[in-house]
């Protein structure tokens, strides 16, 4: 009898946890971009630690890069070493300043070239699963970020905001299976819809009419339709074109312009509209 109750408890436990997870999965299939208070609270709690950890590790990494590698030198050269350290540090600092300057200039040029108001943000973390495609940024509702807003980098389109808390947000990549943006071929102005795939590292251009002129190497830019992204932001380069005889459209594979795994700073397109509720995720 005791064994029966024990087994019953186990089965009830399994059924309960299965039911909760299935309920969450089915009730939250993201047919619309939701932003419930619970997920905001979790994001708000964890993101400051992520922010702090990222800063601390960057700090220690710069120390390791700049100083610790120079420790192993002979004693009689201490003076020279000290001078070398100073110069190396100065050199590194100037180099870093130079690169920061180049990067910021690039960002400023990009910001000035876009008529939409842009909010700069730092990337503080990545998706919890290697199969997922999202990042966390250090700007949230307090700075005017809303769910559905587009996110861009100087190189091109990054994705859009899927979750926000007061000071942090989660951004899904353009290459995610649930992302999509209206684009056009820069050279021929042919229109198509750029969709992410489950592969997560390239996109597909759908609904390209068969007669339109698209070639390998063509640059795709945003069309501005939908209001999420300004017109003319680079999406990526056409890599391959598929012309299937049994369909009305041709399809192209696109390599995104942005390397999502090397992003440090991004811009949130502040005036982008909230997406429709039927945005399929």
């Amino acid at each position: 009898m005791k064994g029966f109750y024990k087994r019953l408890q186990i089965y009830l436990f399994i059924i309960l946890l299965f039911s909760i997870s299935l309920f969450l999965l089915l009730s939250n299939d993201r047919t619309k971009l939701d932003n419930n208070p619970f997920s905001s609270a979790i994001l708000e709690l964890a993101a400051p630690v992520q922010n702090l950890t990222a800063k601390t590790f960057n700090f220690f990494r710069s120390i390791v890069d700049n100083y610790l590698l120079l420790i192993n030198i002979r004693k009689e050269n201490l003076l020279l070493k000290k001078r070398l350290k100073e110069l190396t540090y100065e050199n590194q600092r100037l180099k870093e300043m130079k690169y920061t300057n180049i990067r910021l200039k690039k960002m400023l040029d990009f910001k000035q070239s876009i008529s939409f108001p842009l909010l700069p943000a730092n990337v503080i973390g990545m998706d919890s699963s290697p199969l997922g495609n999202s990042i966390f940024i250090n700007k949230g509702t307090a700075q005017g970020v809303k769910v559905g807003m587009g996110v861009v980098a100087p190189e091109g389109v990054v994705g859009y905001v899927i979750r926000t808390s007061r000071n942090f947000s989660s951004v899904i990549f353009l290459t995610d299976r649930s992302s999509g943006v209206n684009g056009l071929v820069q050279r021929s102005r042919a229109k198509g819809v750029v969709k992410g795939t489950i592969a997560g590292n390239y996109c597909e251009v759908k609904y390209l009419l068969k007669e339109v002129d698209v070639r390998k190497g063509d640059l795709m830019v945003t069309s501005g339709i939908g209001g999420k992204f300004p017109k003319g932001v680079v999406i990526g380069r056409v890599d391959k074109i598929e012309n299937r005889p049994d369909t009305l459209f041709k399809m192209a594979l696109l390599t995104p312009a942005v390397d999502f795994y090397k992003l440090e700073e991004v811009f949130v397109v502040l005036s982008s509209m909230r997406p429709d509720n039927n945005t399929k995720r």
Binding site: F13, L17, S21, L22, L24, G132, E204
Partner: protein, 170 residues
């Protein structure tokens, strides 16, 4: 009990920070180890407490859901399924924690890949299938398996995984 829960929370928190923030700083690639998976397997096999470990795995998945682009509930479900599979394998085969843990992490990665593939198929999102299959069923299990080997190798010598009652490794 409170001490154990606090330790579990700190442990989970630490590995989440590694997964979300520290890994991306050093590994700028779409392939990176899944520490959360390794921890889920560790929770599943560390001792014989079914309810506590099951709840830990479920909670771990639920927290992971909030930091992922997957729909809410996906990782809670997959981590609980992984827990049940891990328990079932642990009770049937008498492996050492090192082999058991590493094998289970590889199996768990394949299972999670399978569940996500099922989810994509349900939603008719199967573009880029070949690349996904390569990543989820070849590269990711190998990466996770290697890291799991190091992880279980270290905890094996700290004796942090308890064998089933009545079973001795020596």
């Amino acid at each position: 009990m409170i001490k154990r829960i606090t330790l579990s929370v700190i442990f989970i928190f630490f590995f989440f920070i590694i997964q979300l923030t520290i890994f991306p700083l050093f590994i700028s690639s779409y392939l990176r180890p899944d520490f959360i998976m390794i921890i889920a397997v560790y929770f599943a096999i560390r001792n014989n407490k079914f309810f506590l470990n099951g709840f830990n795995c479920f909670s771990l998945g639920l927290v992971q859901d909030f930091f992922s682009s997957f729909p809410l509930g996906f990782f809670a479900l997959s981590k609980f399924i992984i827990f049940l599979i891990a328990r079932s394998i642990k009770s049937r085969f008498l492996f050492s924690p090192l082999i058991l843990g590493t094998t289970l992490v590889i199996i768990a990665t394949l299972v999670e890949g399978g569940i996500s593939l099922a989810l994509f198929s349900l939603k008719n999102k199967t573009d880029g299938l070949i690349f996904f299959l390569e990543k989820a069923f070849i590269y990711q299990p190998l990466i996770n398996g290697s890291i799991a080997f190091l992880f279980f190798f270290s905890i094996h010598y700290l004796n942090l995984v308890k064998p089933l009652k009545g079973f001795s490794y020596h």
